[in-house]
């Protein structure tokens, strides 16, 4: 098998980077940044995920087919999250429609 051999110093660099990002995200959580706390925490988590996927999981050295499968997976998760949240988070944007009974006098008038 002739998979790509990643040098040990790359693994060590990624490991130290992940530890530094863990320390950073923990430190930042003690400051009140409002909604930015969540944004920063998730941005650091995504950065850590990319480090793990690209180097530890060898995706940086993998074929286009493997990358396509991974991207399809994340794309499908994005659909799941986007459609769920677009429903849940926008329910209070417009007033509830009036019940159908408001049509009854109109119908009676027509009859």
């Amino acid at each position: 098998m002739s998979g790509h051999v990643v040098p040990v110093r790359v693994y060590m660099g990624v490991f130290l980077g992940l530890l530094a990002l863990t320390a950073l995200t923990t430190w930042v959580s003690y400051f009140d940044l409002g909604p930015m706390n969540t944004v920063v925490a998730l941005a650091i988590a995504v950065t850590k995920m990319l480090l793990v996927i690209l180097f530890f999981m060898h995706v940086k050295y993998s074929s286009g087919l493997t990358r396509l499968v991974i991207l399809a997976g994340f794309f499908w998760f994005a659909i799941l999250a986007a459609l769920t949240l677009s429903d849940e988070l926008t329910r209070n944007w417009s007033p509830s429609p009036a019940p159908w009974s408001f049509l009854l006098p109109l119908i009676r008038g027509l009859l």
């Binding site: 923990t26 793990v52 849940e88």
Partner: protein, 212 residues
């Protein structure tokens, strides 16, 4: 051989994509309920100990490094004892993660009556949102529990790999079982990389006046 290597990794990635959707459903569910009961979720998050979460993140990252080094040792034709050393080290770090999780965190939560269904006590000082705090802990125990189950399965697979390594099964030409188990192990690491900030960090620890 190149194609076989490719096929093994690709097959594992297809499985991991199903795992993304499996955990993804939970993450989406968590986002919805967090948006509905934001105050209760932030309160619940502050009841967790960030130090244990951060320490466990470091332990899990270290176990990913040793897993990568186990594969590297096989790829470069190191003696089987070197491969076994890294595999056993990975298992020890995985067990350390579970040890911290179960004995320091879950046991502590149980003593503090924070386990829904097992004598959960809503404290008066939580105020109006107190009734919704058990919902946060349902998510906490289910998500970390499912993650822990994946860790236990991973340690089981690593045990088999260590036995295979002791019989000299792996060499520069053949290490596919190590490679695909590595993908699984790193994936479980990534799940924790997201669970840590979502459960422990974004609950507003600054509100407690700095340190824990």
């Amino acid at each position: 051989m190149e194609q076989q290597h490719e096929a093994a990794s690709l097959g594992m990635w297809v499985f991991l994509v199903t795992e993304i959707m499996f955990f993804g459903g939970l993450f989406a569910c968590y986002a919805v309920y967090r948006a509905l009961h934001l105050q209760a979720f932030e309160l619940g998050s502050r009841l967790l100990d960030v130090r244990f979460g951060a320490a466990n993140t470091a332990v899990l990252i270290a176990s990913s490094l040793t897993m990568a080094l186990a594969i590297h040792s096989a790829q470069t034709g190191k003696r089987k004892s070197v491969v076994m050393f890294y595999l056993v080290l990975t298992m020890i770090l995985g067990a350390a993660f579970l040890g911290i999780k179960f004995t320091f965190e879950w046991r502590h939560d149980f003593v503090d009556h924070l386990v829904p269904g097992f004598g959960f006590e809503v404290r008066p000082e939580w105020g109006a949102v107190g009734q919704q705090v058990p919902m946060f802990f349902c998510f906490y125990f289910f998500m970390t529990g499912l993650h822990a189950l994946h860790m236990i399965i991973g340690i089981g697979i690593l045990t088999v790999l260590t036995i295979m390594a002791s019989r000299g099964r792996f060499n520069e030409q053949y290490y596919a079982p190590l490679e695909v188990t590595g993908l699984y192990w790193h994936f479980v690491d990534i799940v924790w990389i997201f669970l840590f900030p979502l459960l422990y960090l974004i609950g507003g620890h600054y509100a407690m006046g700095g340190g824990h």
